[in-house]
């Protein structure tokens, strides 16, 4: 029995896209704020409806909602909303059209959130791959330069290859399992001994998600892309889809590939360590701020993978806490990036933002707080994330991984110190434009949330724990 009510959020999202298209076609005086307003209310409605219909499944064998999926969808929509509110400042200040950005973002959200709810590998990966391929259009938003087109084209090539391979694997598994739903595929992968081709198909599903997450050694596109796109796209790609990919990864590990996970575990260890090291070292090699934080994201993904090596309740919980904290902090960082503007141009090179603390002390101070938070220092929120990570690894007696994580943090610390040095101690080269009040508002809200969660962490730790437990029973 199909419960169409469960698809209300998706319908709202489609409707939002439709309204945006209609406005774009027929309204001459459409400003960047127009599409932002439409998107904002649309996503708000979607969020509300998702929360209300948290346990409504469209068709239990294909599309299922539960507290776990609702949790992630809520976070994704909230992240998207925050990014949208920042993005409108960009479009307003540069006086460029925002239609493409907001519509593509809505479409991307549609596919990402749908992928989380699918309980069939074919549908799941169809949504995921289509959504990922759409990123090309997002990347090309307001981005016509030859230098930027080349990485985008490379990404497309790899994305197409990965997508094709993933879909093939998904369909082969479905065929061999006699159905694409998780139970059948899981049963196939639990056979002992598992055939090599079955193993490869199952493993490649994970590899595909790791590629999207930007985990090493599949990370090669991420820094270049994030560094070359416009700021709103960079912010979206850096912050929002990672939650969806993480959700999908947990679903796969819990319900699909658990049969071959013991075999895959050493590979996960290698990927985790590689991500941590590549992320930490790579951050030190960059002079572009966004590329640097792309590497920070790779590092965070590496830590998440390290926790998931031993897949259990506590490790899932800890990885989620850590990822949420990172995403929240990086959102703050990107908000600061919106403040780095000179003569109408957004700055992303470290050299350009030298000495910004002298004219924008609050912005600089906020960035400093976020950097210390990412390093896991108390009294900032990042400490909670790091505490969860190390606590879990110690409980698992995984001391080498702790060593790798902490060493990576030390190396990352060196990169952050470089930023601090440039912002605080180097001489100012450029004149910085006035910062939009909305940026300060976003920063204030972000800092407030961080402060509240630090003083009373049960909002983050306890209440979300319950939602996560529904997945891993």
């Amino acid at each position: 029995m199909k419960n169409w009510i469960a698809l209300v959020p998706e319908f709202i999202l489609i409707a939002t896209v439709g309204v945006s298209v209609l406005v774009w076609m027929f309204r001459d005086k459409a400003t960047p704020k127009t599409f932002y307003t439409i998107a904002k209310y649309g996503v708000l409605l979607v969020l509300l409806s998702s929360v209300v219909l948290y346990d409504q499944s469209f068709y239990p064998k294909i599309y299922e909602n539960n507290p776990y999926t609702t949790l992630f969808k809520s976070f994704i929509y909230l992240g998207a909303l925050a990014n949208m509110s920042l993005a409108v400042r960009f479009f307003l200040s540069t006086d460029t059209a925002s239609f493409r950005f907001y519509v593509l973002q809505e479409i991307s959200l549609l596919f990402l959130c749908a992928a989380i709810s699918f309980v069939d590998v074919r549908w799941l990966f169809c949504c995921l791959e289509v959504g990922f391929l759409f990123n090309y259009h997002l990347i090309m938003t307001e981005n016509d330069e030859e230098d930027n087109m080349a990485p985008a084209k490379t990404l497309v090539r790899y994305s197409v290859l990965f997508s094709l391979a993933t879909l093939v694997c998904a369909f082969v598994l479905s065929y061999l399992a006699g159905g694409g739903d998780f139970q059948n595929v899981a049963a196939l992968l639990q056979k002992n001994p598992v055939p090599f081709h079955v193993y490869i198909c199952g493993a490649f599903l994970i590899v595909s998600v790791l590629f999207k997450l930007g985990a090493a050694p599949f990370h090669f596109c991420l820094p270049t892309i994030l560094g070359r796109t416009i700021l709103p796209v960079s912010g979206y790609l850096a912050l929002v889809p990672v939650l969806a990919y993480y959700a999908v990864l947990i679903i796969l590990l819990a319900h699909v590939v658990n049969g071959i996970y013991d075999v895959l575990r050493p590979a996960m260890f290698v990927f985790a360590v590689a991500s941590i090291l590549v992320g930490a070292v790579g951050a030190n090699t960059e002079t572009n701020l966004r590329k640097m934080f792309a590497y920070v994201r790779i590092f965070a993904v590496g830590v998440v993978l390290a926790l998931l090596i031993k897949f259990e309740q506590n490790s899932v919980f800890s990885s989620f806490i850590y990822l949420s904290v990172c995403v929240l902090t990086m959102l703050g960082v990107y908000a600061v990036f919106y403040g780095f503007k000179s003569r109408g141009e957004y700055l992303d090179s470290m050299v350009d933002v030298a000495g910004v603390s002298s004219s924008k002390p609050f912005l600089a101070a906020a960035l400093l707080i976020f950097l210390f938070s990412l390093l896991g220092l108390p009294p900032f929120l990042g400490f909670l994330g790091l505490l969860s990570v190390v606590n879990t690894l110690v409980a698992q007696q995984n001391y080498w991984l702790i060593f790798v994580v902490l060493s990576g943090l030390v190396v990352l610390g060196a990169a952050f110190l470089r930023i601090i040095k440039i912002i605080y101690f180097d001489r100012k080269n450029l004149h910085f434009d006035r910062v939009d009040k909305g940026i300060y508002l976003t920063l204030a809200i972000n800092l407030f949330i961080i402060a509240v969660l630090m003083i009373n962490p049960k909002y983050l730790m306890n209440d979300i724990e319950v939602a996560l437990w529904t997945l891993i029973q």
Partner: protein, 477 residues
Amino acid sequence: MSDIPYLLIMTVLPLCGAVMVLLAQDDEKTNGRNVISVSMLTVWGSLVFILLALSHVDSSYGHMQLLEKYVWLENPEITLTLGVDAFSLLLILAVNMAALIGMWGGRHEKGCQKSCMVFALLFLSLITGLFVAADIMAFFIFFAALLFPLFMLIGVFGEVKRRAALFRFTFYSFCGVLLFFWVLVILYNHDGANLLISKISQLTLSSKTEFMVWLGIFAALLSRIPIWPFHGWIAAVYVGIKNPLIFILANMMPLTGIYGLMRFVPESVPVSMVFLATGLEIIAVITMLFIALIALINVDFKFKIFSFMMVYYIFYLMAAFFPTSQFMMNVGYSLFAFMIIFAALEVLVSYQEDECEAQKLLPEGILRLMPRLSVVFTFMIMAGIGMPLSAMFVNNFVLISALLTYNFWTGVCAVSSLAVVCVALLLEIRRRKHEVKFSVEQVSAVRDLSKKDVCFMATMMLVLILSLINPLWFIRG
């Protein structure tokens, strides 16, 4: 448990002060006076609460008192416990008084007065929290959190020229924090709950784990203390700070490491720790000798003050390894006087340097033009080198005696280092009182300490002398 949460109030009060400073009016009219007044009032308020807490503490009782528990996390279960004894209260008192002296001395410094005071009060709040932390998690939170305001104070307001040294220092401290964090989580997981510091030595750990835990604790706490071979760039950072308040606050950082070692290291050293303790003694002695000898040849007085601090800090650190805790109060009293002396010296030197810069004079013979400052300066130097003008004298006597008893040659090296660094300070008196011909204009232009300054310093001198006459005058029991 006490009814009034003295410890929470003591910890949070400087933070509230920081907020008040942010809200205080600061324009050309007030010229920073409001900011200074609010800051100093905050510290005076803290002092009142500290003395109130002292009146409730029994100095003869060795365990933590005035305990306060606060539930922070439920999963993992973490309850933060605050508690003090007379020793930690003495340190808090010392730190606050030193900060007060620093604020008084730095009140005429120009540039970012407000932000500087905010971070200074934040630092004061966090260091107070460190001294009242009774469990490992609370200790670590404050231990790590100190890095942020310290970095801001030194980097932004300290006018340090050698930036590379600052970054190395921050990086090095950060490594220590992470190491400590690792050990902390191991201990937490071993017990399944947040552990009181005093219970660490009672844990039954495997020999390998015990060794790793203690190695981690040692290395982490030592990262705060400029031990050899890391003393060079730490010295470069601290010595480069011009603002006296920031110099004083920055030089409190090694105190956190020493305090941690005094709290964590048990009376009877576990077998796995014997090797570590011996290694630490050797490094401590080498560092003391090194720093003392370099102080002797260095002409920068700030370096001499820094060396004086570090040599004494390491001397107190050695006391942490006595196989008995009966000397802890002696360390506390001595540190109390020591912090006041050091802060006063820094303020006085800073004043002299400012005058030299303003009047384009060399420091040689400057004290001849400032008779009031000369008297106070000489008093502080005399008290600092161990003359019986403060609690340092008797308590250092006890500590030197204990050190010589437990390890004779270590004691001899430590005492030699103390002597050398004191000689270095005395050489400075000689230099600054050297006979130099000044012109009439120069003589009249140089400003001596004002009457207010003299009264303030006289109060501090009186506190020091009172601490000699009756070290227990502010403690019951």
